[in-house]
Each structure stands twice: as C-alpha cells, then as structure tokens.
Symmetry: C2
Subunit: 384 residues, 2 copies
C-alpha cells in the first residue's frame, strides 16, 4: 500500500449537494436540450418520482416512470427498462432510488439503441460508450452508485451477480438531496450506512490505496462514525442525513479508482444465492474480514479506528481491535442483523459460498492480506 500507484479518476461532471437540489435536476435536464425523460425508480419511492416529474413538466419536459423491483435488479428488469426507454423514445435517463434503480438507469443510458448487449459488456472496460445523458439521484445513503463506474445485476439463471465496469457508466449529473432520504426505513438507513462504511474502509485498506483516495475514504469514515446513529434515531435530522449522503458519495468516489476487497468478494455469493441485500451482507462480514486483515496491516486499521473516535494509543494492533469493537457496537446500536444465520444462511451452505467467493478475484486481489478458500470458509464460520 505505497503511494506510487498510478491513479485514474473519472468524475461526474456536476454534483449538487444540499436540501432542495432535486428541483435543480429539471433545470439541468432542460439545459441539455432533452425533451423526453425516463425515470428509473422503485415502487416505495413513487412519491418522490412524482415530485421529480412535476419539476420536469414545469420545464416543459415529458417524463415517464419505470418502476423496478424493491430488491436487487435482474437481467429481466434491465430488459424491461430498456424496452420502456425505447418505446417512450427517451433522450435523457434519470436513476432515482437506491443502488438498484441507479444501476439499471446507468445500464439503460449505456445500452439504449442496442449497439451492445448486456452480455457483451459484462466485465471491465468493454462498454463502447453511453448512448444517452444520465443523472442519478440517490434516495439511500450507501452505494454511492451516483458516481461509480459500476453497475451490477443478478443473472437469474446463473444465480450469480454480474458487474459492468466502465467510465461511461459514471453519470453526467448527481444530486445529493437529504430531503429525499428522510423517509428511508431505519433498517435501510442502517444497512446502507454500513455499506458506505465498508466502501470507505476497503478502499483505504487496499493494495491499490492512493493518498487522494485515502483522504476521501477517511473523511467518509469520520462522517459515518459521527452521523449514522443520529440518522437512524432522528430520521428528520437533515444535517445527519446530508452528512450520510456525503459519506456515501465519498465512498462511491473511492470505488472507481481503488474499488473494494474481500468483504465485497465474500458478500457476492450471499446476494446471488441467498438474496441478502448488499448492505446487509457487507455489514455481517465487515468485522470478521477486518479481524483477518488487521494482522497484515494494523496501521491502516488503526487509522480507521481513529476516524471512528478511538483515541490513538500508539499501539496500532490495539487501536485496530478497538476499531473493530466500535464497528460492531455501531452495527448493533442501529439494529442490523449480526449473524449469517439471522438472514437464513446455515452452516452447510458455507463451503459452497467460500468456493463461489474465490471466483471474485477481481476484488480479492485488492485485499491487503491474501485469502484462500479455507480462510474464506473460516470467516463465514466466524460470522455464522
């Protein structure tokens, strides 16, 4: 984890942050010359989508909604959304929702017009371009998908998650409006918040770590440590909600240049096979993976601990351990599930999951400590 890795940063051109910025989206849309806007969203937040449609109508734009699933999106959802976009004749795509809605929106904007199929672009750097302009508006504070070059779908047949990674997936516009997150259920606030924390921690303690990304990651960790409990306990606290959105955004900014590591690799099989929401899977695994990694990189995890409010004792290993305890307390305090068995996973599933996790070498190779299948199994067992 030296600081001489080459770094390529791809940014959204425009990011607006603050209560009320949703209204600005319609103005930005209109300024691009767009006329017909497809809003990819999900049923629970239809009210917010209606509000956005009204803003667009005020600017003379026509819009239609595509309501995707509540849970993780599938290839079938993408196909349906693409058909909806083509039938409507969309010339601008907005993703409004959590990572699922935004990921589908990103793929619709990229694949509109059928120059490439989803199968052709699964992997890294295979997208030839993006067909339509794109804005993303998160209604959870977790994935940071509004600024990542990543979109992930479930392949129903293969029971596997498949990811597309390309700078062309990064939206043109992103809006972080805390008013859109105040109705998020406590459980979702909690698990998506821990997901954002995982992004920041895995980017900071990463073989590809870089000082620029470090500063984003550390600030994200600090903001989550100070705001997650408040956001859960006082859902209308706009300051805490905005700070959580910023933290999630900073975590997302880390994902492109550095990406995640073993927590995410081990979480993949839990999503694909057991349909555990992404944030929940990460939060269950995070302390156990850190405990495994900290032996190799105690200084990094000590710094994480300091950002979470642990005093610097001068003993990195001790501080790292205190940081793990702080993360476990934080998770418990906001009431998220603590064990794999709480989400319906039993011990006989673990060997298969460990084998599946080993296929995610794209992320495992970033991990500060090498991890083999046997070690992955031990981590699942510890988390069971």
């Amino acid at each position: 984890m030296g600081n001489r890795n080459r770094l390529d940063l791809y940014h959204a051109r425009c990011v607006r942050i603050g209560a009320g910025v949703l209204a600005q989206c319609a103005l930005d849309c209109a300024a691009t010359g767009a006329r017909r806007v497809l809003i990819v969203t999900s049923a629970p937040i239809a009210r917010l989508a209606d509000e956005l449609s009204e803003h667009l109508a005020e600017q003379g734009l026509t819009s239609t909604l595509f309501k995707g699933p509540d849970g993780e999106p599938t290839r079938a959802d993408l196909s349906a959304a693409l058909t909806s976009a083509q039938d409507f004749g969309a010339d601008f795509i907005i993703g409004l929702g959590g990572g699922s809605a935004m990921d589908v929106a990103k793929l619709v904007a990229a694949l509109f017009g059928e120059r490439q199929t989803f199968d052709e672009v699964v992997g890294t750097g295979l997208l030839a371009g993006r067909a339509l302009p794109l804005a993303c508006i998160p209604t959870t504070a977790g994935t940071g998908s509004e600024v990542t070059p990543i979109a992930i779908l479930e392949d129903e047949a293969a029971q596997l998650k498949k990811g597309v990674v390309s700078p062309f997936l990064i939206p043109d516009f992103a809006y972080l409006d805390p008013q859109l997150t105040v109705t998020m259920p406590r459980k979702v606030t909690a698990s998506t918040g821990i997901d954002a924390l995982t992004h920041c921690i895995e980017a900071y303690a990463n073989r590809l770590a870089h000082p620029v990304v470090d500063s984003w990651a550390l600030e994200g960790i600090r903001l989550i440590g100070e705001n997650l409990e408040i956001a859960c306990n006082e859902p209308d606290n706009l300051s805490a909600r905005e700070n959580m959105l910023i933290a999630s955004h900073l975590g997302g900014m880390c994902l492109g240049p550095v990406n995640t590591a073993a927590v995410h690799a081990l979480a993949y099989p839990m999503g694909g096979e057991f349909h555990v929401p992404h944030g929940v899977a990460n939060s269950l695994l995070l302390p156990h993976v850190i405990r495994f990694n900290a032996e190799e990189a105690p200084e990094r995890y000590a710094r994480v601990a300091h950002m979470l409010g642990v005093a610097d004792s001068g003993d990195a290993a001790r501080d790292a351990a205190a940081g793990i305890a702080r993360i476990e307390d934080l998770s418990a305090g906001v009431g998220i599930d603590r064990r794999l068995r709480d989400v319906g996973i039993s011990s006989n599933a673990l060997p298969g999951m460990a084998a599946a996790a080993m296929t995610v070498q794209r992320l495992l190779q970033n991990n500060p400590r090498e991890m083999n299948e046997e070690q992955a199994l031990r981590i699942y067992e510890a988390a069971l």
Copy 2:
C-alpha cells in the same frame, strides 16, 4: 462557517495521476476524434511541449505550439492565441504549463469561433459554453488551474486583473505527471507551493466552507507541509513532486465551490500594478492575513496548524499562532521573498493598493473576518 451551505461541484471528467501519464494524453485526444491540436505553452518548457507533440504525432494527430509569455498573461496574449487556433483550424486545445498557459488555453477553448468576446464573459457565469474539447497539464504545482472554473488575464490598459468564472472552463482531461515538474526552478517550486497552500487555507477558513471541501483542503495542507521542503531540496524526488501536484490539485478543487478570500483579494493589486507573480504575492501576505483572521476563527486556523504538524495543545489561539510561525518558517526555509519591499513595493504605494483590494468584494466576502480599507492597509504595512 456552518456545514449547511449548498454546494455545487463541477469536475474534470478524467484526471490521471502518476509518472508518465503525459503519454496517455495523446491517446485520450485521439479517442475524442480530434485531428488538429493547439498546445498553449510557454518558452521555458518548450522541450516538454515537443515531447507531447511527438506523442500526438504517434497517434496520427497534427499539433502546433502557441508560446505565451513567461509571466502573467494579458488580453493581447489571448488574442494572439485565438488567432493562432483559428488559423491552424484547431479542434482540440491543450494547456501545458503553469497557471498562465492553462488559463489562456481554457479561454481559447471557450471563445474559439468568436461567439463571445473576452469582455462579454468577464465575471461569473457569463460563458455560454465551450467550443472545443480541452486538456490541461500542469508543469508547476501551485495554481490547480487544471480543475478550476477560473481564468485570469491582465487588462494592460486598466492595469487590473480580470477573471472569467464558469463551469465551462473546467477541462475535460487533466494530467498530473510529476516528471514534468522536476525541472521547475527552486524559486518557482517554492512560490507556487505556497500558492497552493494559500488556496487550501483560504478554502478551509472561509464563510462558504463545506465538509467535502474541508477534507480536500486539509489533505492538501498536510501534503504541502510534508513535501514542499523536500521538493525544493531534492528536485528529482518524484514522490514529493507528485504529492505537491496532488496538493495543488486538491487546492484547485476547492476553488470552484468555495474559492479564496482576503489573501487573494489583497494580492490582486500586487499582480496588476507591480507584476508580482501570483504565488509570490500570496506567500508574502498569507501569514499577515491569517494573523488578522485568526482572532475571529481560531479553531479553523488551529486545525490548519495541526495539519502542518503542530501538536494539538487544546488551546486553539495558541495552536493558530504556532501554525503561523510554521508557515513563516516554511516560506523562509524554501527561500522565497518575505517582505513587500523585497519585490519593489514601497510604503507610498500601500494606500492605493488597499483601495484597489477593496474592489475585490467577490473574494473579500468569503473571508472569515470582515475587512475594511483601513485594516487592509495595516496588513500591507505589516507585510512591508
């Protein structure tokens, strides 16, 4: 300096960081479909421009050089560069150099085709668009101009600097290649480095301060504190050079959303009337303005001091004072001028300068402490 200001961030779409990224610029240029590239640069770095031309030629692109002045650019320089771009039929503009070359390149890319004149766009938000794609490649580590929405020229007739501020001035591509900065003279390394420090400090201690920008500013301050002396004393140290480029870049990222304050306002008349280089003017004023401001916002300046290595004593005013001493030591250690009289300014010029500084309300209104003409004069006198 609460944290509930609304924030609009405009980013360069692609930023590449590391030794050797210069070569990547030609590939990115070619990928946009460009054929004829105007490189705006300055005489002392012609060798680097030749290297870039060779890379472009290898990708099948034709290029020509416009060599601007060593010092601060003027309206006449912009006119000449625009003529050069039109005559050459440029379809891509690259700024390669310090802030001067990059600022001219940004304005050429924006004003090419004569849809608007410079006079029509002086001020904030008046540019209607940018005519040509644009890349910026800094060869100093100071202005961060490769990511700012700002370009500044000297109006020779008015003896005043005039600024254009617009998101359209932010380049599409930026390249931070430490190999391009190793030949920078020590004096330039020093003054541009203190300029970057000034950007970070003025963005952090600013009425428009925001947590996202704070994290960039603080990381920039830390990197400068740890690397400026090394970059001056070991010019070939690529690690220190890269860290200084990153710090300058982070400072530049702060300038769009938050911008600077009284140091820059008071530096303006020194540039316009006395032709003191921008970085030198800032470095002469910085400790004196901080001393004035710290009475109003000691906590902010204490945090700056901590980033510069001052231990946290728990007494903000004391730490802020130690920070000022550290900045003065840093400036002295790298051998930059310390007093206004060292750059040819005498006491009888100060009242006129104080009056001129008061016209820069755009920046003065960001200052954490209100400053009137009398107080500006006292600061100039202290710096004399």
